[in-house]
C-alpha cells in the first residue's frame, strides 16, 4: 500500500540523512519526494511517497519517525490525493 509521509523537521544539516536512513534500514524505497523550507527557514517540510507492505511495520515506522529528535510533526496519508500531490511538485 502506498503512503505519503508529510514530515516537518528542523532545518539542519543531516536531518534528511537521518530520516532516510530509517527507510533504508527497512528496505523501503522512496518513490517520490519533495522538500521545502518553511517561510521562516527554521524547518523543512518533506513529503515522501513510499510503500510499506505490512500494517504492523507501518505502525512501527510511524512511531520511530515521530520520536526522532528533529521531527516536529508527521502526518501520514494514503494515496487518494496522489494526483494532487504530484501536481503540487510540478508547480
Amino acid at each position: 500500500m502506498h503512503e505519503i509521509i508529510i514530515c516537518k523537521m528542523k532545518n539542519r544539516v543531516g536531518v534528511l540523512n537521518r530520516f532516510t536512513g530509517l527507510l533504508t534500514r527497512r528496505n523501503i524505497n522512496i518513490e517520490s519526494a519533495s522538500i521545502n523550507s518553511t517561510p521562516d527557514n527554521k524547518a523543512v517540510v518533506a513529503k515522501f511517497k513510499i510503500q510499506v507492505a505490512k500494517a504492523h511495520e507501518r505502525e512501527h515506522l510511524k512511531r520511530v519517525i515521530a520520536k526522532q529528535i528533529d521531527v516536529l510533526s508527521v502526518q501520514w496519508d494514503d494515496c487518494k490525493n496522489d494526483l494532487e500531490f504530484e501536481h503540487a511538485i510540478v508547480k
Partner: protein, 575 residues
C-alpha cells in the same frame, strides 16, 4: 592579542581561552568528573585544554575501550558517560561502542575530533564523515560549525542523552572550532523546546493503567516482566513494593538482573534463550503479562508469534515505538517505569490481592522440579561452580561485568544478583571485547565496590590492551578468564545446529594469560582443579587486581537453551 572571556563557575572564576576550554567548562557544569579518551591530531586543542585545566581524562589504549569504559561508568552510576576521540580512525574505532550504547540505551556523549571546517569534504588526513556513519546508531548527532551555538548544543546533547529513553549522542568537533579564541558566546540561556528537542514523555494514561490494574489482579496466572527500563528509571524500589503487595511473580531480562533479589520467592530468574525453566514456562502459561521497560527482544521472546500464547499483554515503555513492535499489545502505555509503578502503588491500595495461589504453587513446583544444575566432573573446574563461588565470596554484592558468550549466560544464571545496576554487560549488540574496558569504567565510577569481570578467552583478546589502564590507575578489579580455548557460544551452536562442524571456533594456541597479566604488572594466577576454591578465596582477599585463569571443559554447554525460532517452552537440556 588573545581575546578572552571569563566564565563564572560555582567555585570561582575560570579564564577561558579557546573553544576547548569552553567545552570543559560546560562539562564541569554538567557534573562530569572524568572522561574517557585517546588523543590525536584533530583533538590536539582539546587535549591541550585538558592538560592546562588538569581535567581528569582516563587514558585508554584504544578508542573502542574508551566508549565501553564510559558505558561501564554510565551503567554503574546512571550518569552520562563522556568520551573524547580523535577524527578518522579514532572516530571509527568508537563506532562499535556507540552502537552498543544505542542498543542498550546508555547515556553517552562522544566527542569526535574532526579536521578543520575548511578541510571537511576534501579527503583530508584522518577525515571521515562520522555524522553519516553514526546517524543510525545515535539518538542525535551534531557537527559544530559556529561558535555561537557551541554551548547550547553541548547542553542540549546532555539533555537528549539522558532524557526519555537514554542513548548516545555524538558531537563532531572541527579542530578550528576547538582551537578558536572566542570573544563571546553570548549570554542567552539555553532554550530547548521540551516538545521537540527531547524525547517526549507524557503523563500516565490513567484509564489504561486502571484497566491494567483490574486485569492484572483478576488474572489467575499474572506475570511481570521487568526490563532495563525499570533500572533506567530508578524504579526498583517501586517495583519490589508493588509485586510484593500483590504477590506477583517477576521475570527479568539479561540487562535487568538485580531488579529483584535472586533469593526472592517471587523472582523466577531471567527469561529467554538461556533463561530459567520456570521463567520460560511462566511465559508460556501466564494469562496476563505486564511488561515494564523491556523491549521483547528476540533473545527473550524467541518466537514472537508463539510468545505468551494464552496471555493478554500489557506493555509500559517510555519509548512509544517499542509498543507493539514485536508482540501485539492489548494494553499499551507510554510512560516512565517509575511514574507507572508509582501510579500503581498509589492507586491500588484498596484493591484486593488476586487469587493466584495455585499459580504461585505451580511456579514453585517448576522451580523445584527443574532447578538450574550442572554436572561436577572429577579433575575439572566447572564454570558454573566458579561463578557460584565468587557469588559466595562477594556475598552477592559485587558489581559484575561480563563480556559476551557462554560465560555471560552462566553468570546470568549462577551469580546471585540482588541490587540494581549490578550487572554490566553488552545485552543488545553482544559486543565481544566489551567486558574489560567496561569493568574499568565501573570501578572508576564506584571505587568502593568490588568489581568482578568474567570474560572468555576470546573476548579478553579483543580489548586486552586495556589491562594497561588497570595497571596505570592501580584499579582493583578481579578478572576471571573462563578459558575453554574456543569461541564457546559459537561452537555450541555449531555443535547443536551445524552437525559439530567447528569452523574457526577452536583456538590452535593461545597466549599465556598469566604472563600476559604479568607483562602489565598485574598479578596472574591459574586455578588448579584441586585447590581452586582456596585460591579464589585468596584472590578476593587481595586489595589489588588479580587476573585469574580457570581452564574449563571445552565442550561445556549453556543449558537450558531454546533453539533459535523455537517458542519459550521448547527448552533443550532440561531434565
Amino acid at each position: 592579542m588573545l581575546a578572552r572571556r571569563e566564565v563564572k563557575e560555582q567555585d570561582g572564576v575560570h579564564t577561558v581561552s579557546t573553544g576547548s576550554d569552553v567545552l570543559l567548562g560546560i562539562l564541569k557544569q554538567q557534573g562530569v568528573e572524568l572522561i574517557f579518551g585517546y588523543p590525536g591530531g584533530a583533538v590536539l586543542p582539546l587535549y591541550d585544554a585538558v592538560y592546562r585545566q588538569a581535567f581528569n581524562n582516563i587514558l585508554v589504549r584504544h578508542e573502542q575501550g574508551a566508549v565501553h569504559a564510559a558505558e561501564g561508568y554510565a551503567k554503574a552510576t546512571g550518569k552520562t558517560g563522556v568520551v573524547f576521540v580523535t577524527s578518522g580512525p579514532g572516530a571509527t574505532n568508537a563506532v562499535t561502542g556507540i552502537a552498543d550504547a544505542m542498543l542498550d540505551s546508555i547515556p553517552l556523549i562522544v566527542f569526535t575530533g574532526q579536521v578543520g571546517c575548511d578541510s571537511i569534504g576534501k579527503d583530508a588526513f584522518q577525515e571521515v564523515d562520522i555524522l553519516s556513519m553514526t546517524a543510525p546508531i545515535t539518538k542525535q548527532n551534531y557537527q559544530i560549525h559556529e561558535l555561537d551555538n557551541f554551548p547550547k548544543i553541548i547542553e542540549e546533547a546532555f539533555k537528549i542523552a539522558a532524557s526519555g529513553r537514554p542513548g548516545p549522542v555524538v558531537i563532531d568537533l572541527p579542530k578550528d572550532i576547538a582551537s578558536s579564541l572566542p570573544d563571546d558566546f553570548g549570554d542567552e540561556k539555553l532554550v530547548i523546546s521540551e516538545e521537540h528537542s527531547v524525547q517526549r514523555t507524557r503523563n500516565v494514561d490513567e484509564s489504561m493503567m486502571l484497566k491494567i490494574s483490574e486485569a492484572l489482579l483478576k488474572a489467575k496466572k499474572p506475570l511481570i516482566l521487568a526490563g532495563g527500563g525499570v533500572l533506567a528509571a530508578n524504579a526498583v524500589s517501586e517495583l519490589r513494593k508493588f509485586v510484593h503487595r500483590f504477590d506477583l511473580p517477576v521475570i527479568s531480562t539479561l540487562v535487568s538482573l538485580g531488579v529483584m533479589p535472586d533469593k526472592d520467592f517471587l523472582f523466577l530468574g531471567m527469561g529467554g534463550m538461556h533463561g530459567s525453566y520456570q521463567a520460560n514456562m511462566a511465559f508460556y502459561e501466564c494469562d496476563f503479562l505486564l511488561n515494564i521497560g523491556s523491549r521483547f527482544d528476540d533473545r527473550l521472546a524467541t518466537n514472537a508469534a508463539k510468545f505468551a500464547p494464552h496471555a493478554h499483554v500489557a506493555h509500559i515503555d517510555i519509548d512509544a515505538s517499542e509498543l507493539g513492535k514485536v508482540i501485539s499489545t492489548d494494553f499499551p502505555v507510554v510512560a516512565d517505569a517509575k511514574d507507572a509503578l508509582s501510579w500503581f502503588l498509589s492507586n491500588t491500595e484498596q484493591m484486593p490481592k488476586g487469587e493466584h495461589v495455585q499459580w504461585l504453587q505451580q511456579l514453585n513446583d517448576w522451580r523445584k522440579k527443574h532447578p538450574k544444575h550442572y554436572e561436577e566432573q572429577e579433575g575439572k573446574i566447572k564454570p558454573q561452580a566458579v561463578i557460584e563461588e565468587v557469588g559466595k565470596l562477594t556475598n552477592g554484592d559485587a558489581t559484575i561485568v561480563t563480556d559476551v558468550g557462554q560465560h555471560q549466560m552462566w553468570v546470568a544464571q549462577y551469580y546471585p544478583f540482588k541490587r540494581s545496576h549490578q550487572i554490566i554487560t553488552s545485552g543488545g549488540l553482544g559486543t565481544m571485547g566489551f567486558g574489560l574496558p567496561a569493568a574499568i569504567g565501573a570501578k572508576l565510577a564506584a571505587p568502593e565496590k568490588e568489581v568482578v569481570l568474567f570474560v572468555g578467552d576470546g573476548g579478553i583478546q579483543m580489548t586486552v590492551e586495556e589491562l594497561d589502564v588497570i595497571r596505570e590507575y592501580k584499579l582493583n578489579i578481579k578478572i576471571i578468564i573462563l578459558n575453554n580455548k574456543t569461541l564457546g557460544m559459537v561452537r555450541q551452536w555449531q555443535d547443536l545446529f551445524y552437525e559439530k562442524r567447528r569452523s574457526q571456533t577452536v583456538f590452535n594456541g593461545q597466549p599465556d594469560f598469566i604472563k600476559l597479566a604479568q607483562a602489565y604488572s598485574i598479578k596472574g594466577l591459574k586455578l588448579s582443579p584441586q585447590h581452586w576454591r582456596e585460591t579464589l578465596a585468596d584472590v578476593f582477599a587481595e586489595k589489588e587486581s588479580v587476573l585469574v585463569e580457570a581452564e574449563i571443559p571445552a565442550l561445556e554447554q549453556v543449558y537450558p537453551m531454546i533453539a533459535p525460532g523455537q517458542p519459550n517452552q521448547a527448552m533443550m537440556g532440561v531434565d
